[in-house]
Symmetry: C2
Subunit: 243 residues, 2 copies
DNA sequence: TCACATTTGTCCGTATGTATC
DNA sequence: AGATACATACGGACAAATGTG
């Protein structure tokens, strides 16, 4: 007798909300639904797909967490297609760091090597608008410091702008993820503004080297800057763990 | 009159399931809950936290999607802490690629540069067990090909093993994400086994170079290998888009 | 300013599917 | 095979938030 068991695998093992979320995801992947488009309300979706409202809610929750939609409460609200998937990835990366799947030394050494690659790419692909954005970033950072405020946000943004200027989204995503961890570190430990001033100086020298097309100078300054940052973060971490 | 509006931001804007999931996440971050630990059932959680089952369900859904827990149905089942966050990140990375936030050329050029860094790190940190794992991988791939099967899984695994041998989890996560896209490509397009045989040859030469401590040779072979892979993927993609 | 409609958020009761013992 | 324990799913109801007229 021939074994025909394998022909009769279960047809439906998927949960209802999985089917619903997959259906909506496919509509997004195929371009039928685009960022800004509105989905029907939960009640209408439930009626149209002939499932309970609870299944719709869990499907929407999945899409919300995965960065495919935003949900607004109240009249005129509802689920809206909005692509925040890169932010979702960087959030998860931060979670991975918190779970100690990644150590600080791993993060900073990888960052140094990856950012050197990015900088090399920047020298190949940089445009006038990128230079302008970098200069503007430095200007804003200086203004904050002169007003005795912290320039943490601007200083983190500088490295994202560099990654953007490389014109490669992969580098941008990786840097976005790494800087999410750095931001978390600095904001929890309330770094003082004195060091920030120093940081802006490094940034300025890097931009000048890009303008002057001096790749070796830019790489050297970047390495110096990141090694100092690494030391500073390590000190902060030791203080936390030691106290 | 002084503006004191900013002093009175809403205290509670969080949704109940957000509070619940954050609470459980914190227990995981602080190490109170570890992989393998079981959470109470939905009903018990609802009773203990004094909220409805729906809120518990959506909180558990959030944790499941984010890679913090697995949920087993049936008696003796329930939510179990299980760290699958790296897989979650690589899944999202694949989604980002599908959303065309990343082009194939961006992916493959970034992969080449990052994998060169990884290979350099491997030369610094490689251990006997890594060599053994790489050799074993090649052996299994050859066996599959001799049996006229595809060695796709093994060939993808090879690059993950390389990243692992770099002893840096950041590189491992990035490579895991990139290879998720490559795997998706190849499995959808059913690459033939002839090319796979060629791939194993490249892998073998890389491992030999690692053993012989010839970094420049390893880097050259890797570059050749990845450029060929890039061309092959590009051809496959053009066929899909053109047909 | 205020009432109203819309939509998400939450809870409860109940029934069903599923896995374990 | 039957009992048990659990997630899954449905429907109804009300609360809370939010934009509109």
């Amino acid at each position: 007798m021939t074994d025909t068991n394998h022909l009769f695998v279960p047809i439906k093992n998927l949960r209802t909300f999985d089917e619903v979320s997959t259906k909506i995801k496919d509509l997004i992947f195929t371009g039928v639904l685009k960022p800004g488009d509105r989905l029907p309300s939960e009640v209408k979706l439930a009626q149209q797909l002939n499932v309970g409202r609870q299944s719709i809610r869990e499907a929407l929750r999945l899409l919300e967490i995965s960065g495919f939609i935003n949900i607004q409460r109240g009249g005129g609200g509802g689920p809206v297609i909005k692509d925040t998937i890169i932010k979702t990835i960087s959030d998860l990366f931060l979670d991975a760091f918190r779970l100690k799947k990644i150590s600080l030394i791993e993060l900073t050494t990888a960052r140094l090597e990856i950012e050197k690659i990015i900088l090399k790419q920047v020298f190949k692909n940089v445009e006038e608008s990128d230079i302008h954005a970098l200069k503007d970033n430095i200007k804003k950072a200086r203004q904050r410091i002169q007003g005795n405020e912290m320039a943490m946000a601007e200083n983190i943004q500088f490295h994202k702008l560099l990654a953007k200027a490389s014109k490669n989204h992969v580098y941008f995503m990786v840097m976005e993820s790494i800087m999410a961890v750095v931001r978390d570190f600095l904001s929890r430990l309330a770094a003082d503004i004195n060091t920030s001033s120093n940081v802006v100086g490094y940034h300025e020298r890097i931009v000048e080297a890009i303008i002057d097309q001096k790749e070796d100078v830019a790489l050297r300054v970047l390495e110096e800057h990141l090694l100092e940052t690494q030391n500073r973060l390590q000190t902060l971490m030791d203080q936390v763990n030691g106290g």
